[in-house]
């Protein structure tokens, strides 16, 4: 669905942010890209959407090259991005208009807009805030409005570009659970983050550091490479730290147990 082929990118007069990056995201996947601050991970969403163009290599979305200008309309319609800063992506003066804005851009029939917009707001639980102005919403609520605005456009792929990093724990949980729900409904998800505990629900994890892919695999495969994570300035979720420690004592805990309670229960009661 989304395909990076040997993509390199750099901002003027700076060293490469991304070097020879290649990966693919298939339809229905939930991919997490993790990496420390400054690893170039946020450049990926902009490249995917054709907001910036690769210096070398190609970015293809369903076979459409982002370098071809005429492809951009369809690419941007099909890919939705939730950016990091909740304050800097709400464009209009109230919640309802925010959703309408995107619908207008994709030339959706005006007579059907209300229905579509309300359904999208309902989905993220923001319908009661229909007429509210953005500055009266919390960070998590703003992100949910941004999600609704994108959902209304019926994207095929949604990129969460560090969308949880400026939120409080409550806001983070909300966004993560919406993400899961959307994935279950068949939307392809790309989640860019540095919170390792957020990637557990992903089907595939790509670890990047200094603009290059360091490792790819399922969350559990990735978590079983603690040294690699430490080298990439990332943190192991606590339960997995415990698991690693027990492993050193040659006590194996089954792969699928990833929470603290489950692990203690297993370690205490199983033989």
């Amino acid at each position: 669905m989304l395909c990076f082929e040997d993509v390199s990118f750099s901002y003027p007069n700076k060293k490469h942010v991304i070097q020879k990056l290649s990966f693919q995201i298939e339809k229905g996947e939930f991919v997490a890209i993790v990496g420390p601050n400054g690893s170039g991970k946020s450049t990926i969403s902009k490249l995917a959407d054709g907001l910036i163009l690769p210096k070398k290599g190609r970015v293809l979305f369903q076979g459409l090259d982002t370098k071809q200008k005429e492809n951009l309309a369809i690419i941007r319609k099909s890919i939705g991005i939730i950016f990091q800063n909740p304050e800097e992506q709400l464009i209009t003066t109230n919640v309802f208009d925010e959703v309408i804005f995107g619908l207008e851009n994709i030339a959706y029939p005006p007579s059907e807009m209300v229905e579509r917009a309300e359904a999208a707001l309902e989905k993220v639980g923001m319908l009661p805030f229909r007429e509210t102005e953005p500055h009266k919403l919390s960070g998590g609520q703003k992100q949910r409005v941004a999600i609704a605005a994108i959902l209304a456009m019926e994207p095929k792929l949604i990129i969460f570009d560090e969308s949880t990093s400026m939120l409080d724990p409550d806001g983070r949980h909300q966004i993560i659970s919406i993400m899961r729900q959307l994935h279950n409904e068949g939307i392809t998800i790309l989640h860019i983050t540095h919170h390792m505990d957020e990637v557990l629900s992903a089907t595939k994890v790509i670890v990047i550091n200094q603009g290059q892919i360091v490792s790819t695999g399922t969350p559990l495969e990735i978590f079983h490479k603690p040294q690699m994570l430490i080298d990439c300035r990332l943190e192991l979720p606590f339960a997995l730290k415990l698991k690693m420690q027990m492993q050193q004592e040659e006590v194996e805990v089954p792969m699928h147990i990833t929470d603290i309670e489950g692990m203690v229960e297993y370690l205490w009661n199983s033989r």
């Binding site: 300035r233 229960e265 033989r271």
Partner: protein
């Protein structure tokens, strides 16, 4: 320096709705000298307002602050005075940077207080080191630094004024795990070196147990608890949950173990280094029992 709040109430009047909102209600607490105290509470619980009241940036509607027993009074004009002994690092403090070099940025606070140039340069060299950057940064432009480095410069600019008490409002928001840990480490070192007091406002419960000796819990503008992290997180889990607050991983682990064994393991603190070995010993012991 000991900071004491007595029956602090802070009302905010909103001209648009013509309503007075009580942001803080009858808060009394003492921050012991040289301690690391964490303030936790949901967004909107009044944490940031409390920080501003502590520094004197906001003047309480009712109540008073004392420092080492001395009452903090408004100035002659009756305007609030900012206590020079209290430094406040705001959320996303990098947004306050404006100078062309880091040195000038660091000099900003001291210049406002009429320091001499030599003293400023000396202090700047000391402080830049404290926040984990080296002297070469002094000549760089703050604009060209990375997000984490900007954050450090902003913290340094507050440390320049030699506060005895440092209040930080979510200083690590948006930083990656390593960046977060290293900034907190730097602050801990600064605290130890000068017997300074640190008040950290945070949502990260794991950071609370790693550093804090005491925790203040705010909920809807009221002080709910002020106690040590161990009793708070192990004994008040339900109360915290009802306030929408999580507990740290180490506390979760200990409680999980208590659940399966019916017994609580005695630990020195909830720091990971104090908890993990104890738990491992226990769990290993159990395995050998089976073997």
């Amino acid at each position: 320096m000991e900071l004491a709040l007595e029956h602090i109430q802070y009302d905010y009047y909103s001209p648009a709705t013509r309503e007075v909102k009580q942001v803080l209600t009858d808060i009394s607490c003492t921050i012991p000298s040289g301690a690391w105290v964490s303030i936790i509470g949901q967004t909107g619980s009044g944490k940031s307002t409390l920080a501003k009241v502590m520094q004197g940036l906001l003047w309480p509607t009712v109540g008073q602050n004392t420092m080492d027993g001395k009452l903090i009074k408004p100035n002659k004009k009756g305007k609030p005075t900012i206590s020079p002994d209290v430094g406040l690092v705001f959320q996303y403090p990098e947004h306050q940077l404006f100078e062309t070099t880091v040195l000038k940025e660091l000099a900003f606070g001291p210049r406002n207080r009429g320091w001499y140039k030599d003293a400023i340069v000396n202090k700047a060299q000391q402080v830049i080191d404290l926040v984990g950057l080296d002297a070469s940064y002094l000549e760089k432009s703050p604009l060209h630094l990375s997000g984490g480095e900007k954050r450090r410069v902003a913290i340094a600019s507050v440390l320049m004024l030699e506060p005895k008490i440092l209040i930080l409002d979510e200083p690590t928001a948006g930083l990656d795990p390593l960046g977060r840990q290293s900034i907190l480490q730097n602050i801990e070192e600064w605290r130890r070196q000068g017997n300074h007091t640190v008040i950290l406002i945070t949502h990260q419960m794991n950071d609370v147990v790693e550093y804090a000796e005491e925790v203040i819990v705010l909920h809807k503008g009221k002080l709910q608890f002020q106690m040590n992290p161990m009793s708070l997180f192990l004994d008040k889990r339900e109360e915290l949950q009802s306030m929408g607050l999580d507990i740290p991983d180490t506390a979760k682990l200990l409680l999980a173990i208590e659940k399966v064994t019916g017994q609580r393991i005695q630990v020195a603190s909830l720091k990971e280094l104090d908890v993990m070995p104890q738990v491992l010993t226990l769990l290993k012991g159990r395995r050998y029992q089976y073997d």
